[in-house]
Amino acid sequence: MLNKRKEMTSGNLAFAEAMRQVNPDVVAAYPITPSTEIPVKFAEFVANGMVDSEYVAVESEHSAITACVGASVSGARVMTASSANGVALMHEIFPIAASFRAPIIFGLVNRSLGAPVNIHCDHSDSMPERDSGWIQIYCEDAQEVYDSVLLAVRLAEHEDVLTPVFVCQDGFITSHCYEPVELLSDEAVKKFVGERKAKYPLLDVDNPVSYGSFTMSEYYFEIKRTQIEGMNNVPRVYKDLTKELAEYTGREYPALDAYRAEDAEYLIVIMSSATGVVKDVVDEMRERGIKAGCLRVRFFRPFPAEELKKLAKGKKGVAVLDRSASIGGTAPLAAEVKSALYGLSKRVPLQEYLFGLGGRDLYPRDAEKVFSGLMENDYSDTARYIGLLEKDEENGGN
C-alpha cells in the first residue's frame, strides 16, 4: 500500500492529484489565473470517469462557494479552488461557510488583488479572509501542498474542529513550477482520509434541521463562541494528524516551521515560497559564524502565537517580512508577530518589511541585507520596503 511514486509536477497539479485521490463528492469551481489548472484538471478526471464526484461548472465564484456550502451542509465532501478576484468575490460567503461548520477544502493559489491587474503572487487575496473563521495553511512548495490537502481533509472534518480550510500556495512560483513530488498510492490516501460522516446533514429528511437562521443579539455571540472553540481545538487535533500522515510519508509539518531558529540570535519571520531563499541565506550566514535563523509561519489561522513567542524569546533581533500590505496599518504577519511577542517580559527588537507585492522576487541579497540591519541595530518605526524602486538618493540609482 505504501508504494509511493515520485513525479515531476507543479503545485496546482499536485493539488489536483490529491483531489483525485481524495475523490470528493462535489467540486464546484470557476476558472481564474493562477488556480485555473485545478478545476480544469479535475473536470478532466470527471470526464474520464477517474473520480465519482459531481463537478458543478458554476457561472461565478460567488456561486462556486455557495454551491460548495450547499453540498457540504448536505453531507458531501467538498473541494474547490480560486485566486485573487475570485476569492474576493466569494468574500461574503466565507464566514457563512465557517459558521455552518462546513468542512470545505479550498485550494487558494495566492495572487495579488487589483488594481492594477496583476496575475502574480502576493498574499493580498487570502489575508483579507483571515477573520472569516477559516483555517489558513500556507505552503512552501508543491510537496507540502500535496501533503496539506490530505491533512486538511481530516482536520476540517474532525468533530472537534469542523472548520473549512484554505490550503494556500504562491501563484506561479509554487503553482506552476515543476519539482519532484512524492505521491502516495490511491489506497494509502483512501485509508488516510476515510469517508466523511456528517452530523446534521441537510439531506436527512427524517431529522430536518434549518441552516442559516436569523438571530439578533440573542445568540449571535454564542454561535461565534462555538466557532472559536472549533478553531481552538485545531492545534491539538492537528498534532496527531501530522504524526499519523508522517507514518505514510515520513514528513511532518509543524504549525510553525523553525529553521535553525532555536539557537539563533537573529530571525526572519516569513511565509510560503520565499522561505527557501531565506533558508539558503541562513545557511550561508551560519557558515560565516553568524547565528541566523528563520521562522516560517505555516498556519496563519490558528496563529501559532505560543510557539512563536517561545522561539523568538531572547533573540537579538527579529525581522518580519510581509507579502501583503495593510495600507494605513500594520501588515498582517507583522501584526500577529508583534501581538504574540507582547507577552515577553523583555522586548525583542523588531523590524517590519514589505516585500514581493505583485510577484516581485525576493533575492538572497535582500535577505542578507535584512539580517545585516538586525546585526547593526538599525531599526525604524515604520515598515521598510524590499526591492522597491526608490528615488536615486535612497538606493544609489535606478
Binding site: 460567488h62 446533514p201 430536518p208 445568540y219
Partner: protein, 310 residues
C-alpha cells in the same frame, strides 16, 4: 383539480409550520403552504434572504418541518445547485434517500435583481429543482423599496410618489419570459387567486425532471397598503384585470391557465391598493398614468396570446 384530494391533504403535515413571524395576512406563507402541499416526495428547501427566510427562522426556532438552508440573498440558485449535486452523489452511495425534491424560494429582489445570475446559472446547468419566486413586487424585508418587479407608478420607498415624481417611472421586467428563454422544461406564472392553480402548478414543476420555475404574485399588505384580509381579493383582481396573466410554458409551449371572461379594467386593481393612491388623489389625479398602465397591460396580453397561439 384532477388528482388532488383536499381532504387527503389535510392529513399531511405542513412543511411550513405555524409559529412563523410573517405579518398577519402576508401572501408569502400562504403561497409556500399551497406550493408544497401536494408534493409527495420529501422536500429540501433553500431560501434566499428576505421576509420569508427571516421570519421563518428566528433562532433558536424554525418554522420549517422540512430541511431548510439559507445562505445569502443573491444565491438561492447556486445553493440549491450544490445541494442537488450532493444528493446525486450521496444517493448513489446510499447515504441519502433516493427520492428527494429540491425547491428554492426567493423573493422578487432575490430573484429578479440580485439573484438573477445565480438563478440563470442553475437553470442553464439543468439541475433537477424547482425555483419559486414569491413576488411581492419589492424589497419588503428592508422596508418596501422598489425592485425590477415593482410595477410602474407604484409608490415604493426608493421610488416614492412625490410632488414632482409620481412613483416608479419604469415598468417591471418580465422575468417569467426571461426564464422561459432559458428553454427549461417547465415555467409557470400564477397568483393567490385560486389555490388549486398554484398547488397543481408546483406539483407539476416538482415532478418535471430538470429545472422548473414558478413566479407567484403574492401581496404584502404593508407595501401594497391593503387590508390584511384581502390577499385573495386583490390577487383575483390582478388575474382578472390581466395585470398578472396566469399561464404556463411546458417544453416551450405557452398555455393560458386562466382567461378572464369579463376582464376588469386595470384601474380596479390599482384603486384597491394604497401604493397607487397618489394616482387617484382628488384634484391631482393622474389618469394619464392609469391609461398608460392599461395600454401596457393590453399590449403584454396580446403578446402572450400570440405566444399561446403558436
Amino acid at each position: 383539480m384532477a388528482g388532488i384530494d383536499l381532504k387527503e391533504l389535510t392529513k399531511k403535515q405542513n412543511p411550513l409550520t405555524e409559529g412563523h413571524r410573517m405579518c398577519p395576512g402576508c401572501g408569502a406563507p400562504t403561497a409556500v403552504r399551497q406550493a408544497l402541499m401536494a408534493v409527495e416526495d420529501p422536500v429540501v428547501v433553500v431560501g434566499a434572504t428576505g421576509c420569508l427566510e427571516v421570519s421563518t427562522t428566528v433562532y433558536p426556532y424554525s418554522a420549517w418541518r422540512v430541511p431548510f438552508m439559507h445562505v445569502a440573498f443573491e444565491n438561492a440558485g447556486a445553493g440549491i445547485s450544490g445541494v442537488e449535486a450532493a444528493h446525486r452523489v450521496l444517493s448513489r452511495k446510499g447515504v441519502a434517500r433516493e427520492k428527494i425534491k429540491f425547491v428554492a424560494f426567493g423573493g422578487d429582489g432575490g430573484t429578479y435583481d440580485i439573484g438573477l445570475q445565480s438563478l440563470s446559472g442553475a437553470l442553464e446547468r439543468g439541475h433537477d429543482f424547482t425555483y419559486i419566486c414569491y413576488n411581492n413586487q419589492g424589497y419588503m424585508n428592508t422596508g418596501a423599496q422598489r425592485s425590477s418587479a415593482t410595477p410602474i407608478s407604484a409608490n415604493a420607498t426608493t421610488s416614492p410618489a412625490g410632488s414632482v415624481i409620481p412613483g416608479k417611472l419604469q415598468r417591471a421586467k418580465n422575468l417569467t419570459e426571461i426564464v422561459t428563454a432559458h428553454d427549461i422544461p417547465y415555467v409557470a406564472q400564477t397568483t393567490l387567486h385560486d389555490p388549486m392553480d398554484l398547488i397543481a402548478k408546483v406539483k407539476r414543476a416538482v415532478e418535471t425532471p430538470g429545472p422548473a420555475f414558478v413566479n407567484v404574485l403574492v401581496p404584502c399588505p404593508l407595501f401594497w397598503k391593503i387590508d390584511s384580509a384581502d390577499q385573495m381579493k386583490v390577487c383575483k383582481l390582478a388575474a382578472e384585470s390581466r395585470f398578472w396573466p396566469v399561464y404556463e410554458v411546458t417544453e416551450g409551449k405557452h398555455v393560458l391557465s386562466y382567461k378572464p371572461k369579463n376582464p376588469v379594467p386595470l384601474e380596479d386593481f390599482l384603486r384597491v391598493q394604497g401604493r397607487y393612491s397618489h394616482l387617484f388623489k382628488k384634484g391631482r389625479e393622474r389618469m394619464d398614468l392609469v391609461a398608460q398602465g392599461q395600454a401596457d397591460v393590453d399590449r403584454e396580453w396580446e403578446r402572450l396570446l400570440k405566444k399561446c397561439a403558436g
